[in-house]
Subunit: 411 residues, 2 copies
């Protein structure tokens, strides 16, 4: 029998305990032995919980109990999660986590610690909730050179965008609805400003390209400045706006990575991922594009990924040395503006003069139209260029005002 | 160093050798040691191949070489593949295969043999080509009770259907085009009649539900009888026709499984999987629906799955006891007609009389219309019922002729 401890009894933590009980029989048969939750660590009291005998408030009980071989860290945040996880690994206990902030900030260090102490640090639940992505990427695509990882990595913003696209609901109202439904937090900035998606693309990029990608090195934009006008123009271009996290390897081995809203063709596999669902695309030299789709968050989907990691450690009984990456000083990430794409631009100004300016600076632009378009508003899509080139040309534009810029990506 | 042999130098086999060379460095780092192809078994001569020194024609050289620990069987077919694989496993060599016919017909037996001899029998490449599906389903979804598996499992038929849907190309012409492009064989029946998809759903269902599902127990229909009229009616219903393989667990533990064309809503994640791409949906009690999408066939995608299995065995160095299922006598599969769905029906007959008959037998039918619809043709979608119930009602219809019946599924 394997005895585990669960750090945190919030949404995911209670799901982990529930799932280990609910599917006990099949989990046992898959793991090859019984898995029992011995401790649940939480500072709060849960007087109505059926697991009364398991709650503790002192982390050291877990750290010092030799019976505990696997610990699920599902508290979130860096402190005290980082100190807890590090000391658990150092004392020879494997850790599984759903904590993307922890993995994005400290992954390389914790993986190294796990390797040194012959235990495992697994984090399937940190990206894509219930979607298997870390392990498939690591194992099944092991034969590939991965050139690019991209995806819709945040369910809250995807829900908001879906409402904006399908129901022409303004951003503020869609955000309110997401909050009412429990999809968005009271302070929604981590989701809405792209930071959550940034952490996830950092984890995927670190694993795909072998060196830690730190969130502060990744250019991140959210969706709070998108308007229904942008959505309408995108629609007229046969496209939809999605918040995309992406990382691409450049020929020399460095990478470019970014999180920003992007216009995708409606025929893209990522364009049809709606509501709170996530979708992740892995581009390999042998497989081509592979897409994984499912619920990127939520109690049981995320818990199922945590439990799968626990089962895996129970079965394997050895350290997975290759699920790892090197640390980096941040110089593995190149300026994202080197990445070429087409750009959607919305300008305001005298229409005849603006068209002249656009022709001068951008050549053959592809003009877009929307219902109710004011005479002094122009929207168009440029040809492909780097963002540095875009900046240069935008500087040359005279007498018009830039109202929106959105990248056009072809996944 | 691990030395491997490759049985067969066809499309997939040559891809395996190519990939092991092409990505040698990264494969080595992921596998933890060098992987060398020592033998390639093929009865044909390949005078222009750069691997001259590796070709052999005598299988026993591989069987008796103690240096060979892993063999890739990529010949296809049951004979001699089955005898080869069995004797390799019995002599303590692990086998990886892309051979869906072999796994669908002999999986339970070969997995048992592998377990008895403490070696592995892996088959990631047998379903979904380059899409990681066997391992994610086995490992990452281990915490779930899987209730249903369904998907677009055959790229050739999906290519043909895409041409019928998007370009109104008749079936025969689309098939010819598929043959010209090398997507369909000269004898296309294994693809077009659904047998290939049937083998794949058998493998997925065996793994998902724990007992071998034999192809002859699975009701299988192909796409050769579909017409552009059916495609047009489906379109008017906001749907598309896809060839779906599906297996669902019934409350008592038995399963229903079938392969047939089905109408899916255009908003379904499976509806937007086009051309030669495959998509597989796994429905778990904790994850909800998870969909895997990618190239279901082709030299390098399939080879990449074979090589991933080789890497996995190299790394793990132990037997995966849980990647397995019990044998069955076939009584684990229930009559597929117990499965309820809605049905699209196309009838021919006197329109007034037909409408009266339809109202009498089917109550509130949802009528469909298509451009150029003849006066004596009626198409409608029934409410949900079992296929037994459908049969009963169809028998009661008088004076009209049934021209098409297609299930309407809601994935």
């Amino acid at each position: 029998m394997v005895k585990v401890a669960v750090l945190g009894h919030g949404t995911v933590g209670s799901g982990v305990v529930e799932l280990l009980l609910k599917n006990k029989k099949s989990i046992e048969s898959r793991a090859g032995q019984e898995i029992e939750v011995k401790y649940i660590l939480d500072l709060r009291d849960f007087p109505d919980s059926p697991y009364q005998d398991k709650f503790i408030k002192d982390f050291n009980i877990i750290l010092q109990d030799p019976e505990i071989s696997i610990v699920a860290e599902v508290m979130g945040g860096l402190s005290p999660a980082f100190d807890y996880v590090r000391s658990l690994l150092e004392s020879g206990k494997s850790v599984v986590t759903s904590n993307k902030e922890l993995v994005a900030a400290k992954g390389a260090q914790l993986l190294k610690t796990a390797n040194q102490h012959n235990v495992n640090f697994f984090f399937e639940a940190s990206v894509g909730g219930g979607i298997p992505i870390i392990r498939p990427m690591h194992q099944c695509l092991a034969a590939n050179e991965i050139s690019e990882v991209a995806g819709i990595l945040n369910g809250t913003t995807n829900f908001i965008l879906t409402k904006m696209i399908e129901e022409q609901m303004p951003f503020d109202q869609a955000l309110q609805l997401a909050q009412q439904l429990g999809y968005a937090e009271r302070d929604p900035s981590a989701d809405v400003e792209g930071h959550d998606a940034c952490r996830k693309i950092c984890i995927l990029a670190s694993l795909a390209f072998g060196k830690h990608v730190y969130p502060h090195t990744v250019h991140t934009e959210g969706i709070s400045r998108l308007s229904l006008d942008d959505v309408a123009y995108a629609d007229s271009f046969d496209g939809v706006i999605k918040l995309i996290g992406r990382a691409r390897r450049l020929p020399g081995g460095k990478i470019v990575a970014a999180v920003y809203p992007a216009i995708l063709s409606k025929h893209s596999q990522l364009a049809n991922i709606n509501d709170v669902f996530n979708g992740i695309l892995i581009r390999g030299d042998a497989t081509g594009d592979v897409v994984f789709y499912g619920r990127g968050a939520g109690k049981l989907p995320t818990a199922s990924a945590v439990v799968a990691d626990i089962i895996d450690i129970t079965k394997a009984n050895c350290t997975s040395k290759s699920l790892s990456w090197e640390d980096s000083s941040g110089d593995n990430v190149e300026d994202y503006k080197l990445s070429p794409s087409r750009f959607y631009l919305k300008l305001q100004g005298d229409p005849a003069e603006a068209r002249k300016q656009i022709a001068r600076c951008f050549g053959d632009a592809e003009y877009l139209a929307r219902p109710g378009q004011p005479a002094d508003e122009l929207a168009f899509v440029t040809e492909e260029m780097t963002e540095h080139e875009l900046d240069r040309r935008l500087e040359e534009l005279q007498g018009v005002q830039l109202k929106s810029m959105i990248r056009v990506l072809d996944y």
